[in-house]
């Protein structure tokens, strides 16, 4: 085994030679310059030794997307999500959030992810409830009282503002959900990296996305261990709230410790190498998508700017 490793890796295509080789032998450079939309599955012609079998990426790494929306370039889907969120929040009144929700509904059914979006919609319920309560009951300057309930006086103005804010929140959550459900994180990061986002920027985004489920796991682990030591973390709301306090410390300090160890682990995996990171597969893109991206990006910003400046008057 030692011999085979030397022959195939460390000595023959050792680190320095290989790193430089990418730029000089054209193998991966050629890969980058392949026609758009083609997946890299074989080395460039002539790069293999005579008689050697070509090295192919496995099918589960190639992961050809199914369906039109899934097959869009990840950056296109990111820009769509951005435009939807910008219009939902930036265009006041009913028009912005409702039009975005209509687009989201059509997209969700077309992409076949409508059912899987339900948990994301449900996840907004606590925030929606607080928005409804605060705005309906405490909307500043509102006098159009719906009904008096002792010291409470909900207003029509407050309710209207609350419903609009609710639609914005739901629209934002669902636009992020569609992006997440139709785009593997690694694909999005790879595509952004190919477009010039540095590996540190890529890692920060990737880590932030990864942190959400990891924090959930950690909270569950800490809760289980505290329960094992006799702490009552189930039951009524007050009990659960009390359980949050001893949860916070271990979660934060544990996360910080993990970050330190993960940083060293990344260093041990050549994360700070100066070479440009290899893109193992080029994701499909097209001129049409490029145009769509720019139109959506500029259009969303223009709509928000027009709304903010008062030139756009929509219900």
């Amino acid at each position: 085994m030692r011999g085979s490793r030397s022959a195939s890796g460390r000595s023959a295509t050792g680190p320095t030679a290989s790193r430089d080789g990418r730029a000089s032998d054209g193998s991966s450079g050629a890969a980058d310059s392949r026609p758009e939309g083609r997946l890299i599955d074989t080395p460039p012609p002539g790069s293999e030794a005579p008689g050697a079998s070509p090295r192919r990426l496995p099918e589960y790494v190639l992961r050809e997307p199914r369906g039109t929306y899934h097959a869009l370039n990840p950056t296109t889907k990111l820009v769509i999500a951005f435009a939807e969120a910008a219009i939902a929040f930036g265009v006041r009144g009913w028009t912005g959030p409702i039009s975005v929700l209509v687009v989201l509904a059509i997209t969700a059914f077309a992409a076949g992810v409508a059912r899987r979006m339900v948990p994301f919609a449900l996840a907004t319920i606590p925030l929606v409830i607080s928005i409804l309560l605060v705005n309906t009951l405490l909307y500043p300057g509102a006098h159009d009282v719906i009904v008096r309930l002792g010291p409470l006086a909900p207003t029509w103005s407050g309710l209207t503002a609350a419903l609009q804010a609710t639609l914005r929140v739901v629209a934002f959550a669902l636009s992020a959900a569609i992006l997440g459900l139709t785009t593997p994180t690694d694909d999005l990061l790879s595509d952004l990296e190919r477009r010039g986002l540095g590996r540190r920027g890529t890692f920060v985004i990737g880590s932030a996305i990864r942190m959400v489920p990891r924090m959930g796991e950690r909270a569950s682990e800490i809760t289980d261990s505290q329960r094992a030591r006799g702490m009552d973390t189930q039951g009524g709301v007050l009990r659960r709230v009390r359980g949050v306090i001893p949860l916070a410390g271990p979660m934060i300090f544990g996360a910080l410790t993990e970050v330190e160890e993960q940083t060293m682990a990344l260093e041990a995996r050549a994360f700070s190498a100066p070479a440009r990171r290899t893109v193992i597969r080029v994701l499909p893109d097209s001129g049409t998508q490029r145009v769509v991206r720019w139109v959506l990006f500029v259009g969303a910003i223009a709509a928000v700017a027009a709304e903010v400046s008062g030139r756009l008057r929509l219900p």
Binding site: R2, S4, R10, S18, R19, S28, V61, A268, A270, R277
Partner: protein, 297 residues
């Protein structure tokens, strides 16, 4: 061709306390050197220093010499260390990048960082997975692996960089007995089959008895005992250093104390303590896995 620490003395940045004091230790290719000692004896720090992460990545002050194949580690950039010496820590979850969808891509993370060509990456990933006998895990989601599997994937990810040496800081501390056996067997096979020099800090002396040729016992940042694994693990002074000897050694002592010291029985126990053919790893019945120990197609 050795990972060599000569008179290594280290203290962390911002503290006057010397954590390692005059360490002399060699890790030759194909050898597994175990590292034992009580908590705070300097095992983890020694791992960081030997791998070049200290002071290279985390700072601190190093005196003496730490060389990999004759090259001083302080002259190397972190990514150059990574290609000479792989490092594995205790927690499997922090070893993984978290951005990969499959184990295959997780293992490819390091080679991609080096900017290697795609065919070379494919070759390295397949080699690392085959070497550790975990090729069937390749399509799986790294976030859904057991602790032992995740640690093996982390090890494969390090191996894909083709380091000549491995430094492992309690790689089985969070693993169950089965996970421990998987990792232990993989490491023993790796050293024997690929000639990788391995330095492994471990509390589980049974594991070291099964896989290490040499063992060093640390005490307050100094090497207190160093020698063949069988000798060091059977040394009575080990207990004073806060290290529990392997069960076979404890059994032999108990037999002696009870006046039941039959020479043949003691010889068998000593052989078990030294990690003989019937040592814990092989006896666990996991050595029939494909991969380690079976060479490469």
């Amino acid at each position: 061709m050795t990972l060599r620490l000569a008179g290594a003395r280290y203290r962390y940045a911002g503290t006057p306390r010397v954590v390692l004091d005059g360490i002399d230790l060699d890790v030759a290719p194909g050898r597994v050197v175990g590292l034992v000692g009580a908590n705070e004896s300097g095992k983890s720090t020694l791992c960081l220093v030997a791998s070049g992460l200290a002071p290279g990545s985390i700072g601190g002050r190093l005196e003496g010499s730490v060389t990999m194949d004759g090259v001083e580690t302080v002259t190397l950039a972190p990514h150059e260390h990574a290609q000479r010496c792989g490092v594995l820590f205790q927690n499997p979850t922090t070893q993984l990048s978290g951005t990969a969808v499959t184990v295959w891509e997780e293992v490819a993370f390091g080679p991609r960082n080096l900017g290697l060509a795609v065919p070379e990456i494919v070759e390295r990933v397949e080699w690392a997975l085959d070497t550790l006998g975990i090729a069937p895990l390749a399509p799986k989601d790294p976030a859904r692996l057991s602790g032992g599997q995740a640690q093996l994937v982390a090890l494969a990810a390090v191996l894909a960089l083709r380091p000549a040496y491995l430094v492992l800081d309690e790689p089985t501390s969070q693993l169950d007995p089965r996970g421990t056996r998987l990792v232990g067997e993989a490491l023993a096979g790796l050293a024997a089959e690929t000639g990788t020099g391995i330095l492994v800090a471990e509390h589980k002396t049974e594991l070291l008895a099964a896989m290490a040729q040499d063992v060093a016992a640390l005490d307050a940042g100094r090497v207190a005992l160093l020698g063949p694994a069988a000798d060091v693990l059977a040394d009575p002074r080990l207990v004073d250093l806060g290290v529990e000897p392997p069960a076979a050694v404890r059994l032999a002592r108990a037999l002696e104390a009870a006046g039941l010291a039959d020479p043949r029985l003691l010889a068998a126990v000593e052989q078990a303590a030294a990690g003989g053919d019937d040592g814990p790893v092989e006896a666990a019945g996991v050595s029939d896995r494909p991969g380690v120990g079976q060479g490469r197609a």
